[in-house]
Symmetry: C2
Subunit: 337 residues, 2 copies
DNA sequence: CTCCTGGACTTAAAGGTTTTCGGAAACGTA
DNA sequence: TACGTTTCCGAAAACCTTTAAGTCCAGGAG
């Protein structure tokens, strides 16, 4: 713990060669006799030599490090994206510098400067919601990729879940199960996610030539709101046979209240949630059919794209990543799933 | 994006001074005339100069960067610890290199080497459970602090939640509410957390001269097990008036089944959970009284301790961090909370 | 006038690594 | 012997910043 770390100089002296030769031997380059290479490698092992990445980066201009800037990692959605990205980078021998701006713009600027000063090779910005956010990439000397929350600037590179397509897929599944009166409970309309999911519902119903059962009910993304909305919906539209919910929390609340009101799920009413938050979706009774946004995969893809952008060229624009419908008991008769 | 980044050399030329003077001006040191300093600062702003942290680190031997090594960040417990640590470091102008070993020992070694090669000033190791884990700090040239999951080596520095104390606090709360027949449902006994919490229960009951109601029931940390255990408990010990659960998931399952069996919570049976996982603890009906391990604060404390260890001296040993009892409706009569 | 002091600035070294280029030795050919 | 080629190795520059040491000059004291 106290001893100075070994440098390539120490290795070279111990092996009895120059530092140039030591470097070549350690990096597996030509122009070194096999016996000499062996001696150098032995010396390096003896001293447990670790090349100094700072010196290397200073010379090459590449740090093999990327910055991960999150606006609000407390949120449930940023974490899986972050893990996916970390996974992709780890596999590529890259290191990840994590910064959490906590939703504060000046803290974000501060972190940005710190990352640039550390000469990161690239940057991933993870949003807290799918609402577009101000671009950070004006005149930055490194490529930037946005994940989950896209940049407002369409010439930036962004990866977002395909909420519209996923919602349409969920509703089509309900229609395929023979349902015809589909209602919609969702979150606040100032969330683009809520608007997109409603849009997907609208498209799917229009294609099938059906009308929505009642009005879309918007409220907080909470189980409590799901229960409350259930009361309102069952009162206003007693004959509804399917409900598409904008989140698993809302769906869990709906299922609970529907059961208390004597409606059987899925026999009387089929329910689809959103997010596949497993503590809710697998523990409600019946377990929820729900949309999984594949966030970890989204993070991985964003990271891989950042690789590409660092090497050569990026493909700008907003890339919509496909989601996946996880079918459980809340839409299929028990025993079928 | 394409232009080479400005160095202090460029700043110096533009300001018409030597690089030494530029350096002194930028770092606010003495021996620079006010007018000269102003000229240098203007030049730096003009070129949007950012000092190269690599060169600085190479010279000073301090990178102002720490490694955060997590065994399994998918887990629910690592995340808050990580966030707390990131928070503390961010405030101190430190940067955090995030590595996720995904429970794989050789991947952990790999990350460890990468971090050392990047010359981190210190290391935080975040465990996936409170079970002691193999030490990583044998002959490491930097200080290491373990958070959540302690090191097996007692001469290392570890920060863990005080599960024994918290469990005793929870049980004392039940006793203070007049309960006398306290049962215990918890997770698998190969988790130290489960054993510690049972130990806390035992101590509190012994101090009050009471016997536990029935045997401790161990099973998975799941809501499903909570429901199943509830059936068993209510059959075996019909007169139980309080249940201390080893997790909120188990508590949520218990509450659900107890209500279906016609027991009122908290009137007939008071319930305490563990973890304060809000999606469960605030959404069960009634909302759960539960133990909050203050994980974010634990992470922050670990980070601050790492600071201290980097500067001067560390205080080795396992530090037990206090938890907090969050009192909600499941232990107090409705309307009181 | 000389000497000293201190302020303002510059020179040069150091930190660890990679890479380019040149040098030396060994060997084969004329 | 003279010369060209191959193989292996070393010297030195470069990356960017900080800092110790040195230079130069003006002004004050004697």
């Amino acid at each position: 713990m106290a001893t100075r770390r070994a440098t390539i100089n120490d290795v070279a002296s111990l092996a009895g060669v120059s530092i140039a030769t030591a470097s070549k031997a350690l990096n597996g380059r030509q122009d070194v006799r096999a016996a000499t290479r062996e001696r150098v490698l032995a010396a390096a092992a003896e001293l447990s030599f670790q090349p100094n990445a700072l010196a290397r980066g200073l010379l090459s201009g590449q740090t093999r490090t990327v910055g991960l800037l999150t606006s609000d990692s407390v949120g449930r959605f940023g974490i899986p994206v972050l893990l996916g990205a970390e996974d992709a980078f780890g596999a590529g021998e890259m290191a990840v510098l994590l910064c959490d701006a906590r939703g504060d713009a000046i803290r974000e600027q501060h972190h940005l400067r710190a990352l640039l000063s550390r000469r990161v090779d690239g940057l991933i910005v993870v949003g807290e919601s799918t609402n577009p956010r101000p671009s950070v990439s004006k005149d930055l000397p490194v490529p930037v990729v946005y994940a989950y929350g896209p940049s407002e600037d369409p010439s930036d590179v962004s990866f977002v879940p395909d909420d519209v397509g996923a919602a349409a897929m969920a509703v089509n599944h309900l229609l395929a199960m023979g349902r015809r009166k589909v209602a919609h409970l969702t979150g606040p309309t100032h969330y683009k996610a809520a608007r997109d999911r409603e849009e997907g519902l609208r498209l799917a119903l229009a294609e099938a030539g059906l009308a929505q059962a009642g009005q879309t009910l918007s409220g907080p993304w909470s189980q409590r709101w799901g229960r409350h909305a259930a009361e309102m919906l069952l009162m206003a539209e007693p004959h509804v046979d399917a409900v598409f919910c904008g989140s698993d929390q809302i769906a869990a609340g709906f299922v609970e209240t529907a059961r208390e009101r004597g409606r059987r799920v899925p026999d009387d009413i089929a329910v689809v949630g959103y997010d596949n938050w497993e503590v809710l979706s697998t523990e409600t009774r019946p377990a929820l059919t729900t949309v999984d946004m594949n966030l970890e995969s989204l993070g991985r893809t964003a990271a891989q794209h950042l690789f590409a952008a660092i090497d050569g060229k990026a493909t700008p624009g907003v890339h919509k990543m496909p989601c996946q419908l996880v079918i459980r008991d809340s839409t299929s008769p028990p025993g079928v799933s």
